[in-house]
Symmetry: D2
Subunit: 140 residues, 4 copies
Amino acid sequence: MLIQAMPASMQAAEAGIEFAADGRVSVGPGFRRLEAAWMDGVAAMARAGARVIVDAIFLGGAVSQQRWQKALAGLDVLWVAVRCDSAVAAGRELARGDRVHGMAVSQAEVVHQGVVYDLEVDTTHTESLACARIIAAHVG
Amino acid sequence: MLIQAMPASMQAAEAGIEFAADGRVSVGPGFRRLEAAWMDGVAAMARAGARVIVDAIFLGGAVSQQRWQKALAGLDVLWVAVRCDSAVAAGRELARGDRVHGMAVSQAEVVHQGVVYDLEVDTTHTESLACARIIAAHVG
Amino acid sequence: MLIQAMPASMQAAEAGIEFAADGRVSVGPGFRRLEAAWMDGVAAMARAGARVIVDAIFLGGAVSQQRWQKALAGLDVLWVAVRCDSAVAAGRELARGDRVHGMAVSQAEVVHQGVVYDLEVDTTHTESLACARIIAAHVG
Amino acid sequence: MLIQAMPASMQAAEAGIEFAADGRVSVGPGFRRLEAAWMDGVAAMARAGARVIVDAIFLGGAVSQQRWQKALAGLDVLWVAVRCDSAVAAGRELARGDRVHGMAVSQAEVVHQGVVYDLEVDTTHTESLACARIIAAHVG
């Protein structure tokens, strides 16, 4: 939803976000600036009392998590890994029909590298509703 | 999008938001609290340097605007009225097929009562793209 | 898609289709007439040389299949059961967010009663893409 | 919806349908064969008693209409032109955000060349609901 909310120019420029034909995603300084402003805003919503679920893909692994840790400093956060076997993820990507083929395999491992979680769910063999219930049980 | 992001319980409870069969919309204290946190977050995004477009319906007219004015204090804001003749709005509501019939007529006048704008566009006879260009010309 | 293509009046009238709050679906004579015309049209497309995939829910079990068998007389048909454990189907129904709760459980068994298949797939533990590949392997 | 129902291969092959970057659309023999089978099926639905609305773009003008006239022979048809000024159509195309830019201008005139209508509506300045009511008044 962040990407959809960004100006169209951000998807066409080197400064923005680029989806390569092989599924690799790269982002530039313009994207980073908007992303940082968005993180500050999400943190402000939580500080104002809203309980917020953020669904983020840590393209940079541990470095991505550090950005969020800095933005959310002082807030009570439950870090949840949502894993999926890369072959199953690739099949779901194809069945969706609206994704650049290759993103799932390319991201399945890298987004978890060096990331520290409080809880892990795996959608390979567990229904999404069942995963949601596991997470909900950890949110007081 | 705020309403979609709220918990499902918010659409079923008296504290939340209610869409009456005649198109009237009423909101309770639970909705107000989440809305206030969201406004704070949007303001934080703008203070962090993002240029943000907010599409809001001022169900309370001037009172709704005052809530936003307070949240956005110190920020550079262009207030734009997007008007539409209520009969035309009702026709578009029907053609969309996904709205409670009556909302358009019920809201066409009330959302502008006492609200102060920098700019007004009217989609009754002007294409949305042309309206967007008028607004864009006022955003340096 | 048949239901979406029907006149809006068909979803409001006793002659049409009704989705009860408990997930039961009942259809009247007006629905049956349009459905029969649609079946004739689908059969005509196949007779004209198009290879057609029909995704139908046999609310009447064997009686529903007989309607299709009559419409498709003389055509080469592969009848495929797409099964799903009712508890898992109910979870997916809830996760979709756009279905009357109860339909999945209500239909999980009844739509297969007395129906004769050439092939069966089960999406309870098998990805939809893998199921599609099993079916594709049976279509020359 | 015909294009969405076609196999994905049809959008990648020379025999199928091609959307050029300038908005031109060209179709090959594979597309024509499926389109002809589809027309036969639509006609069969109407002959079986269903009242059908077909929304078609006559890329070939009069030649396209002749294909439909042949398929619908003997049926009672109301041919309706839905026109729109090409500049307004281009603006709507851009505002939709999901179309190849240039299609609207490229098609605005050509799809009506040599086509014979019973009724004409123009959405340039008339709301779609009002156009629908004009058409409905001509359908007994």
